[in-house]
Subunit: 141 residues, 2 copies
């Protein structure tokens, strides 16, 4: 985490740089994918890895797979909060999802993507290459 002064504050939230965001994404393991299903928004948690600037997560052949195989633009969010201190941060990455099919690439990535916590078949590896990455940190008065 950078110790420099925040450069911008938006409604009590410090706006983070893309570098800050990347630094925070490697510290967490659970994020949330935002997709549109039948015209309705949905938010679904995933465990993920952040590698070389991309977000990777596994999925079965459900909602997230359909979004990824269709090349949909998805949102990915990670946050962390301290309820006692009432501070925290959030990072939002937006980009096109794609199913990774190249075996060599899967092998590279695979061992870094943790085994999904839930059991069941999650045979597909999805990559989100962020086209937009923003982050906010709560600034206490």
């Amino acid at each position: 985490m950078s110790t420099r002064e925040p450069s911008m504050v938006d409604e009590g939230l410090e706006l983070l740089t893309e570098e800050d965001c990347g630094g925070l994404l490697v510290t967490a393991r659970v994020g949330r994918v935002g997709v549109t299903v039948g015209g309705l928004p949905a938010i679904l948690p995933v465990n993920y890895a952040f590698l070389n600037g991309d977000v990777f997560f596994r999925t079965g052949d459900g909602t997230k797979f359909r979004a990824a195989s269709g090349g949909a633009v998805i949102a990915f969010e990670v946050d962390a909060y301290d309820e006692g201190e009432q501070h925290g941060w959030s990072v939002l990455a937006i980009g096109r999802a794609e199913v990774v099919t190249d075996p060599a690439e899967i092998a590279d990535v695979d061992e870094s993507v943790r085994t999904p916590w839930a059991g069941g078949q999650r045979n597909y590896l999805v990559r989100l290459r962020p086209e937009l990455m923003t982050g906010r940190r709560i600034v206490r008065a």
Copy 2:
């Protein structure tokens, strides 16, 4: 939390009843709102209250306010995880957002909605009346 046997398991995830979901929503304070901004999905954290079946959160006049004042259908998600145990749950509520303007209703709700953790002007109270509420809990093998 119910101790009865899970009735349905979806890819290693126990599907929760709406009653279970409501019981979990009152245990947490931070959730995430999923909206569409300029055709792109976004996920934004909020601190919230769950009262009489509705989700309430405060917002300034930005993205979430625009969604609510336009009566957009939004997604709201809450989850909790234990990284050591690799278990957890998530609840997803979907419904139309609306800005609460009736002063009597605001007065009723207000004291239960916590002061937003971030400073700044968050003058609007938004209600999400869930039309669809689903939840999942990780079932370890």
